[in-house]
Each structure stands twice: as structure tokens, then as C-alpha cells.
Assembly symmetry: C2
Homo-oligomer: 211 residues x 2
DNA sequence: TAATCACTTGCTTGTTGACAACAAGTATCT
DNA sequence: AGATACTTGTTGTCAACAAGCAAGTGATTA
């Protein structure tokens, strides 16, 4: 419990090196991709030895799983704050705005997360289940928004909440994928605006089809 | 030009071994993922030596690029046949049906292609450009369908063809991704039916909003 | 037509350097 | 002194390359 000036507690040391390792891993993944990023590179870029990354995370897959979870935590926190207590169409639109904002404010995290999720498609991926779980949760959250929107009288009763959630999550997955593949030529913001308009058109109770 | 019974011309030999290699690669990718598939495994599974895959395709990335292009060719041919000379909403719906059919009839190819495309998200991917190009072409094809549908009086004039194409391609990308991640829990067919309904609702000229 | 010879091409085996993973050690905290 | 953060030594695997072998090819000659 008694610490000198520049000496840290064990817990602080691990927290520090953990953060440094994950941060270095993120940069390296962004530059070279997960395949061509080596554990030695990660350790040394973080200012430690070539062996620390393996020691701390057990394996390359373990490290990327931790990185994935770490960014996901941050992202889910950010999303929760962005959506607030909105429900129905408002929540779905707010989520789209929040995704865009997150990728503007934290492009490194957003991009890395996308890259890792794509890598999770491989049968060998150690964090396949992590990725699946997050998508599943995303979908059930959206379905819940729709149901609450229906109860609040904002969303049409005749739409199936799960169907809508499925379409919505598919759109988000595809949109982020396309953005990841060609960030320059894909109009993220415009695409989201179109989507928001479409959500209102197809889900809102009052279909007074004007304009 | 003169060949004996069981001896093959050089061209035939390469064609044969090429096919065997790509086929073996497909099986191995499906089972272990691209990362844990080794070039030696591919060569030996195909019935040749451990070195052939490297010799023929230059590198691991080169092999997967070839595999990607090979399946893509097949898929695009299949798609063209499925869509025929339809345009507008009909073409878009037919394309959705064709995707579903392709994945029912050729699950190995479909799955492998998806896995490879996801891997292309990595900055180190050697066939990143291949994947980007195909998506881009997909999008411009769809935009063309929409424009032709507008000229034919089937699609509303006030929708932007490029915007619609963007949404459509995003949906397809996301849907195939979700299907790849959890083939069992994702209702591919149902999702497509919903999408087709939505396409008609939002694009058809006569919005007589009945039923 | 048939035999031979120079050359090309398909394929295999030998080797090297890089890397993940593990084991055994050192330094720092408690 | 014991535990914990971290480093260094080592091994087996793999991609990539290089050198070699064997089978195919086409031209020349008789």
C-alpha cells in the first residue's frame, strides 16, 4: 500500500502495460492487418519486450479477443449514451447517428473493431463467439426498441419487431463493412440519412404519404 | 498434338492440378479458415506435393486471390442467368432470390467466398482490390437497374438510383455476413422476403398503400 | 513416317528466415 | 521470503525461394 514516487503497484503496472499493449496492437492492426502483426512487434512497439504480449494474453488470438472486447465495451458505452432512453424509430435513428459519430471521433477504434469482426468470420477465429454474441445482443436490443415504440404508439402495430431488427442489423453490418473496405468512396453520412428516412417511412404509424 | 491414352498434354495437366488445388483449398478454408490452412496441406490434400501450391500461385495470398476470382466468376455467371434481362424492382428481387438459391445449391462456394471477402478487410490482404472492385461493380449494376426501371415507368422518378443501390448493396453485404457468422440462427429466406416487400413498397410507382 | 535431340514446362525436394508458443530465468513489488 | 511483472532462450511450424528431376513439345533428319 505504500508507494514511492515513480514506483507503481503491481496492479497499476499490469493496467499500464495492458493498455500499452492493446494500444500498440490497434495501431499495428490498422497498418498491417492482424495477420502480419506479430506479437513481438506489439510488445516492442508498446515499449516492452518481444515476449510480453504472449505472456499476458496467452496467444495471438487471445490478445485480439481482448482487444475486441475492450473496444466493444467502449463502443457499447458510447452507444448507450447516444441513444439514451429513446425507443422506437427515435432510438434506431439515434443509433445510426451514434455509429457515425463514433467513427468520426474514434476512427482507430471503429476501424480496428470492424477489421477484427471481419476476421471473426474465419472458422479458426478464437473470438468468433464474441462477435456472434454482440450481433445477437444488438438485434434483440433493436427488437425491444421496436416493441416499446409500438407500445408508445409511435411504431405501426403490424410490423414484426424481430423482422425489422434483422433488416436493421443487416444494414448496419453491411454499411460498416462497405465503409471499412473503401472509406473514401462510401458516403457514410448520406447513406445513414437515407436509411433514417426509410425507417420513418416504413415504420411510423401515421403514413400520410405527403411530399 | 498426339497424346497417348493416359498421358496428358501440359495444358491438361495444369488445368487438372489447378482445379484440384483450388478445390482442396476450398475444403480446407471451410474447415480451418484461411489462417490455419497451410500451403503444404493444400498441395497434399489435392494429391500433389507440399510445394506445388506455392509454385503455382506464388504465394498464399495469390492462391486465395485466384480462388476468390474463380468462385466469383461462377457466381457472377449464375447471377446473370438468375436475373436475366429483368430491370428495376424485378431485377433486384430476382437477385435476392438468386443469392439465396446459390447458397442453397453451392454452399461450399458461397461460404468460402464470404470468408475470403471478410478476410479482404485486412489491410494486408492481397485481394482487397478484387473484393472492392466486385462490390463497386455490384453497386453500379444495381444503380443501372434502378435507372432502367425508372425509364420503364416501374420505379418512382423521385428516388436517387445511386442512393438506392448503396442501401441495397449494404443490405446484401450485411445479410450475407450475418448468415456466414451464424448460418443456423439467421433466417436468410425470411429476411429476403421482407426485403423484397420493402423494395416494392418504397420504389414502386403506384403507391396505392393498400393492405 | 519414325527416331532423335534441344528445349520448355509441371512438379518435387532442400533450405532459410520469421513467427507463435512455451519454458526457464531475472527484476520488481508486497 | 514469497509472489508477481516481465525478459530471454528455445523449439516446431510455416511461407517463400531455389535447385533439381521428369514428362511433354516441336523441329530436324533420315
Amino acid at each position: 500500500m505504500q508507494q514511492e514516487n515513480n514506483s507503481l503497484s503491481q496492479a497499476e503496472r499490469t493496467a499500464l502495460s495492458d493498455k500499452a499493449l492493446l494500444d500498440a496492437a490497434m495501431d499495428l492492426v490498422l497498418e498491417h492487418g492482424p495477420d502480419k502483426t506479430t506479437l513481438a512487434m506489439i510488445g516492442e512497439t508498446a515499449g516492452y519486450s518481444r515476449g510480453l504480449a504472449t505472456y499476458r494474453f496467452g496467444s495471438k488470438g487471445g490478445l485480439f479477443d481482448s482487444l475486441c472486447k475492450s473496444i466493444s465495451r467502449h463502443w457499447l458505452e458510447y452507444l448507450k449514451q447516444g441513444v439514451g432512453d429513446k425507443v422506437g424509430i427515435d432510438a434506431m435513428c439515434a443509433a445510426l447517428d451514434t455509429i457515425y459519430k463514433f467513427e468520426q471521433e474514434s476512427p482507430r477504434e471503429a476501424r480496428t473493431l470492424e477489421i477484427l469482426y471481419c476476421g471473426a468470420a474465419s472458422p479458426s477465429s478464437e473470438f468468433r463467439d464474441t462477435a456472434i454474441g454482440i450481433r445477437r445482443r444488438q438485434k434483440s436490443d433493436v427488437a425491444e426498441w421496436v416493441r416499446q415504440g409500438q407500445e408508445a404508439g409511435q411504431v405501426r402495430r403490424d410490423v414484426d419487431a424481430d423482422e425489422v431488427a434483422g433488416q436493421y442489423v443487416a444494414y448496419i453490418s453491411g454499411m460498416t463493412y462497405l465503409w471499412l473496405m473503401s472509406p473514401d468512396s462510401f458516403d457514410f453520412h448520406g447513406s445513414n440519412e437515407v436509411m433514417k428516412k426509410q425507417l420513418r417511412d416504413s415504420l411510423a404509424v401515421c403514413t400520410a404519404a405527403s411530399s
